[in-house]
């Protein structure tokens, strides 16, 4: 809004933004999962099914014992939730603005709010599934995670990393819709390299240097350290990750600011 004569207080703006994001979360849940109560379960079931499938495929390759099954479940299924979150947030970013265009007629609804609302849903879902998976692993005889807080921390960093990229993707999509195909292809190609299938220490030195350029690898290392403690040797650099979070956030927010003025409402 340009030059309102009575400038609203910062706290009122914050309250308004919380209200808008809350309303958007409820709205998004309705359109995505329908109005039936059972629909809400789907957000938990989808990652659960996908994660369990990967665990089964990996388990069936090795000796088919309960022990290897549980170990693969612990490593791959739980790790896969973070990839699911990354992919979900970034893939959806291409449709976020188009799907909500009508709501932009309300001046308090800002473009970043549309993204934050979706990311909250994705985060709550993935955190819920992660907790269920961890409890399931313990129930099946696995060890209690070394540091649950560190696993939550990894989830939070994955949210921030994906969010920055999603804001950028959203801003670019308003100018160039072809990006959608690229983003989808990219998020699938990322799967083998993102860190879900390996620990850095398992790789030869020359490969380690390469994969450590990939920001998601650092998050998976952090997750695994929280999950397995001293049983793994984790390699990560939070400073490097912070750069990958801050720079895309700045570029994305600036891009959305410019986009708001350009997008036609009809």
């Amino acid at each position: 809004m340009s030059g309102a004569s009575a400038r609203p207080l910062l706290i009122d703006c914050a309250r308004q933004q919380v209200r808008v994001i809350g309303a958007l979360v409820i709205r998004e849940m309705h359109t995505r999962f329908g109005r039936r109560r059972l629909g809400y379960l789907w957000v938990f079931l989808e990652p659960l099914l996908l994660g369990a499938m990967i665990a089964l495929i990996h388990g069936s390759h090795g000796r088919f014992s309960g022990e290897t099954m549980r170990a693969t479940f612990e490593f791959f299924a739980i790790g896969y939730i973070l990839f699911f979150k990354f992919r979900g947030i970034i893939n959806r970013a291409t449709t976020t603005i188009v799907a909500n265009r009508g709501l932009l007629y309300h001046r308090q609804v800002t473009l970043p709010d549309l993204f934050y609302a979706r990311h909250i849903i994705e985060s709550v879902a993935c955190t819920g599934v992660l907790v269920i998976f961890v409890i399931a692993a313990v129930a099946l005889g696995g060890a209690v995670p070394d540091s649950p807080m560190q696993m939550i921390w990894a989830l939070g960093l994955m949210l921030l990393l994906s969010q920055g990229i999603a804001l950028m993707v959203g801003a670019v999509t308003t100018e160039w819709e072809g990006l959608e195909r690229l983003v989808h292809a990219f998020s699938y190609v990322m799967l083998p390299f993102c860190g879900v299938f390996f620990m850095v220490e398992w790789l030869p030195a020359w490969m380690q240097e390469i994969v450590l350029w990939i920001p998601t690898v650092h998050i998976f290392e952090l997750l695994r350290e929280g999950q397995f403690g001293d049983r793994v040797k984790a390699t990560y650099d939070l400073g490097y990750l912070a750069g990958w979070i801050l720079v895309p956030h700045l570029l994305g927010l600036a891009g959305l600011r410019l986009a708001r003025q350009r997008i036609g409402l009809e």
């Binding site: 809004m1 309102a4 209200r19 409820i26 709205r27 109005r35 909500n100 709501l103 003025q261």
Partner: protein, 211 residues
Amino acid sequence: MLELLGVEKSYPLLAGRKHVLRGVNATFRRGERVGVLGRNGSGKSTLVRILGGVEAPTHGTVRRSMSVSWPIGMAAGFQPALSGSDNARFIARIYDRPVKETVEFVESFAELGEYLRMPVNTYSSGMRSRLGLAISLAVEFDCFLVDEALAVGDTKFGRAFGARLQRAGLILVTHQPSLVRQLCTRAAVLDQGTLTFYEDIDEALATYNSL
């Protein structure tokens, strides 16, 4: 009060820019009912979006010291896949109004019957504008910003809407002179990117008809 000071708006074209508004100055006071007349393509919708704070002007200033509704029109402000009542709930939440009362008001006012629980994309244009107007009335703005497609007239809804408006301000942007005569106390004509006010409605209508 809602003020426009030297507002200009232009959009990029393949070559150069299209100048839609070329320096609009206007003051809308609280409780005033103003009709803005403009031919198709004269920049009416652009003006409404700038008044509503949905779009920023290229140059100039907008000052808003009363609550102004969103631009109420056919599709504006709705999520088409959601039902009318879900849309009402969403709007109540973002404007910090009680959700239940808002839906009840819309139910009694918009005359949508069963359709209130159906997706908005199944509505006729008249139903959409009734929904939009009913929700905005429930939020109780100081000034209602209405863009075309106003299905009032001498219906039960039209009379109820008119009665409500006696207590609130209105900026109605339209190409239908009859609506301005019916609802407004002051009129302006938008032409060639400038807005000219007339204290006398007949004078505004005569100017508009000669365009």
